[in-house]
């Protein structure tokens, strides 16, 4: 009986870990899309998630628009923010070294966060779960249906991106910029357009993460930085630039947090990501799926 309760608890932690991990994976994917094209770490990536949640609250709860329409409108709004980030913070930088651009994203993240605080204040907001809060019971396991939505959206994003990068000429052009910037220009690819596209797509994915996360964990103006750190840790763990790596890294990090909080000390939950980040950087800086060979192919 006791062992049943224990294994039951394990499963419960696992589901929670997978769900949180899926969010981290989405943030990590956002990092990778921009990193692959520009080698810039967009430290405002977490703000897209925060905005996704709060804009959705505004459109869905305050304005009362139906879920699907509010979802699409929110993604659109946050995508526009991503595009503006590129236009207003990245492109005007006179000496666009990678470091200067990263600092520009930090500045932008502070501005976005400040703006969110002015609009929404400091209180956390809730969002109705997509299919109600009635828990689903599967073989004695109690699941919030929203967990499944989060994981489901990660799967959809992964499939959509795989198709985009492998089947469409625009996706291939983005990979070409990451592979060899000069050669990309020589075949007629407008690299700046690709950078803009990267910011737009990253913002859209961040928005989806925020929209799906908020019914589980609420959302407030101040959540972006921590989400960015977790997503960054996931990206590094999986291998910066690798999409399968981002998913793997996110899920592993989510599970570590979930089990760590359950069995060790829940108060240190947020520290686990940083510990993982440091360990990876010490032991294997290329991450799990990042290979040195790929790193060598990349020149921008």
């Amino acid at each position: 009986m006791e062992s049943f309760a224990f294994s039951h608890q394990l499963l419960q932690f696992m589901v929670t870990g997978l769900t949180v991990g899926a969010i981290y994976a989405m943030v990590a994917i956002g990092f990778n899309i921009i990193y692959n094209v520009t080698e810039v770490l967009n430290l405002a990536q977490g703000e897209f998630v925060m905005l996704g949640g709060l804009v959705m609250v505004f459109i869905h709860v305050s304005l009362g628009l139906p879920l699907v329409i509010a979802f699409a409108a929110t993604v659109l709004v946050v995508t526009v923010v991503g595009v503006l980030l590129d236009r207003l913070a990245i492109r005007p930088v006179r000496q666009p070294t990678v470091m200067a651009l990263i600092i520009a994203t930090v500045a932008a993240s502070m501005i976005i966060k400040g703006g969110a605080m002015l609009i929404w204040g400091k209180n956390p907001y809730d969002l109705p779960a997509f299919s109600g809060r009635e828990p689903i019971v599967v073989g004695g396991l109690v699941l919030q249906s929203q967990y499944l939505w989060v994981i489901g959206f990660l799967v959809i994003i992964a499939i959509a991106l795989a198709l985009f990068f492998n089947r469409t000429i625009l996706g291939k052009a983005m990979r070409a910029c990451a592979d060899n910037g000069d050669a990309a220009r020589l075949v007629g690819i407008n690299v700046r357009q690709m950078v803009l596209l990267a910011f737009g797509v990253s913002a859209a994915i961040g928005a989806v993460a925020g929209i799906t996360l908020t019914p589980i964990a609420l959302m407030d103006y101040d959540r972006g930085a921590m989400l960015a750190i977790k997503g960054f840790a996931a990206a590094i763990l999986g291998g910066l630039g690798s999409f399968p790596g981002a998913i793997l890294g996110g899920v592993i990090l989510g599970l570590i947090e979930s089990f760590g909080a359950g069995f060790l000390m829940s108060g240190y939950k947020d520290a686990y990501a940083l510990i993982v980040l440091l360990l990876v950087l010490f032991v294997r800086p290329s991450g799990i799926l990042g290979s040195m060979a790929v790193a060598r192919f990349k020149r921008f």
Binding site: I169, K172, A173, R175, A176, D179, N180, D182, A183, A184, R185, L186, V187, G188, I189, N190, V191, V294, F297, K298
Partner: protein
Amino acid sequence: MSTEGSTILKIEQLNAGYGAIAAIKGISLQVPKGKVVSIIGANGAGKSTLLKAISGLNADVSGRIVFKDQDILRLPADRIVGLGLSHVAEGRQIFASMTVADNIELGAYLFHRRRKRQVIADGKETVYGMFPILAKRATQIAGTLSGGEQQMLAIARALMARPALLLLDEPSMGLAPLIVRDIFRTIKQLNSTGTTILLVEQNARAALQIADYAYVLETGCIVLQGPARQLLDDPKIKAAYLGVG
């Protein structure tokens, strides 16, 4: 279209460099339509810098570069290729992490954006016909091709844009003599089907043998020019570049 009729590329008083470094110092040259023009010169003479200035990769330029009656000096590289000028850069510069087929596909990027499906299909047929080995390797990651195959891929990718003028930067670099012969035969064949060629080479003999006209570049300046046959017999060229005399 052109009043000068036969000149496809005309460069006047071109300067190009990298900040404080002047690599090209007031060069003037012309490429007649339908011909093969070679530029030979030693390491560091400025050959690659010249080609990068023409194709728009080097923005640190002044002077005049007229391609098909249009001044392209300040145009970005991704616009210039659309005018019919393709550059096969030094060291092949393929998309190493992508497949051969994707490299070829991306060569026709501008036609994809303009939805010219037929042009793309024709282009593929042409380049795969010209380089059957690439068809066999279509799904292979380009970075794993041999040096010769990579050079063929680089040329094939450039041809997918249907250039009127093709800039080639040391296509023979690092290749075995037999492969070099193949590559030069291909260049000759391309020229005979109407593509104008501007060829940069350290392999002076091979370059002069297929060229109609040639320029000799030394530390950013043109020191000698003339019909290629004539330069092949020039005692100074023989001594300095052909290793005889």
